[in-house]
């Protein structure tokens, strides 16, 4: 049995990008990586379970898993369905993870960059969320 190295408690907050469009999600992740490199856990997903425009609860759950950090995960979403599906995905997580995941009330692309920049500086989950939400539009 392999033992996972316990993540250090000061790990940076993870960021998940959820868009109806796989292209938007990928492009926003590219822009985030350009700003913060590999300093934060980052995952993205977009598209309904058939790959059309929409979102997918299992894909969001997998993205949360991929961007997991013991300091928490901030999710950026585009429109209604992405938010509803992300809320659902959070509820389907294990009890001990659920409270460490938040959805930011912020625009998906701009919010992801602000949240990631904040997270890369070691900010706490609430600060990361606030950084995304402080955004005046554009």
């Amino acid at each position: 049995m392999t033992k996972k190295t316990p993540a250090k408690p000061t790990a940076n907050v993870g960021i998940v990008i959820v868009s109806h469009s796989p292209d938007v999600a990928r492009g926003a992740a590219d822009m985030v990586r350009q700003m913060v490199g590999t300093s934060i856990p980052l995952a993205h997903c977009g598209g309904d379970p058939d790959g059309g425009l929409g979102t997918s609860v299992p894909a969001i759950m997998a993205a949360i898993e991929a961007a997991w950090s013991p300091s928490g995960v901030a999710i950026l979403v585009d429109l209604g369905g992405a938010e509803t599906n992300s809320e659902m995905a959070i509820e389907m997580l294990d009890d001990d993870r659920r409270d460490l995941v938040v959805i930011c009330n912020a625009p998906v692309v701009e919010g992801a960059i602000m949240a990631a920049t904040e997270a890369s500086g070691g900010a706490r989950l609430a600060e990361v969320k606030a950084a995304a939400e402080e955004l005046s539009p554009a």
Partner: protein, 219 residues
């Protein structure tokens, strides 16, 4: 179930399976109508979303057939959540999950069924942060829930079917003059007026299929 059966032994998994089959069939049959409604005031995917979700439910038929009705409802809810891909997935999914939970190990008679539906409607409202009057599936579900509750424990099957279908049809039709304040249709503002809400229509279809499966005299 006939209402008599229901009062005595409760809903069986066979009856529920028949209802599921009927719902899947009607959703598949009406997918393009639902998509057209969503194209007018949304993103034009409600038919596809529902079809994908309910075909996945059909794919779980073997599993469901071996479950209790309560567990079967949970399987339906989870399946919809995982496969629909639009806002309607978590909404309908939460409806079924809450209905499952409300069974609480009781045989499902009409009184329990009414409680279950009311719990499901509550779950839709919490999940959607929405309420009656916002031009959503709730416009159909709420009056249907009220009609089922009003019917009482020993309603006549034919009369109940008529009452529930009428409530569903009136509910869906009532969305036409409403202005949407939830979901994508809300982006249209005034221009959402004059169109039926796709989710209200899919709810109407589901209610009709379930009534027919449960209460229609065997052919």
């Amino acid at each position: 179930m006939s209402s008599t059966d229901a009062a005595q032994t409760g809903l069986t998994i066979e009856a529920l399976t028949k209802a599921i089959d009927a719902v899947v069939a009607t959703i598949v049959d009406h997918a393009s109508e639902l998509t057209d409604l969503d194209m007018a005031i949304g993103d034009g995917d409600h038919g596809l979303n529902m079809k994908r979700g309910f075909e996945a439910v059909r794919g779980a038929a073997a599993k469901i057939a071996a479950q209790t009705p309560a567990d079967a409802l949970k399987t339906i809810g989870t399946t919809l959540i995982m496969t629909v891909g639009g806002a309607s997935g978590p909404l309908y999914g939460s409806l079924f999950l809450a209905m499952s939970k409300a069974v609480a190990d009781r045989p499902i008679d009409l009184v329990v069924a009414a409680e279950m539906l009311e719990a499901g409607i509550q779950a839709v409202q919490s999940r959607g942060k929405s309420h009656a009057g916002e031009k959503t599936m709730l416009e159909t579900l709420i009056p249907v829930g009220a009609a089922l509750t009003a019917a009482g424990p020993a309603a006549d099957p034919a009369a109940l079917t008529a009452a529930l279908k009428a409530a569903a049809a009136a509910g869906a039709a009532s969305t036409v003059p409403l202005r949407a304040s939830k979901g994508r249709a809300s982006f249209l503002g005034e221009r959402s007026i004059g169109h039926m809400d796709p989710g209200a229509r899919s709810s109407e279809l589901m209610v009709g299929a379930v009534c027919d499966a449960f209460f229609a005299p065997a052919p």
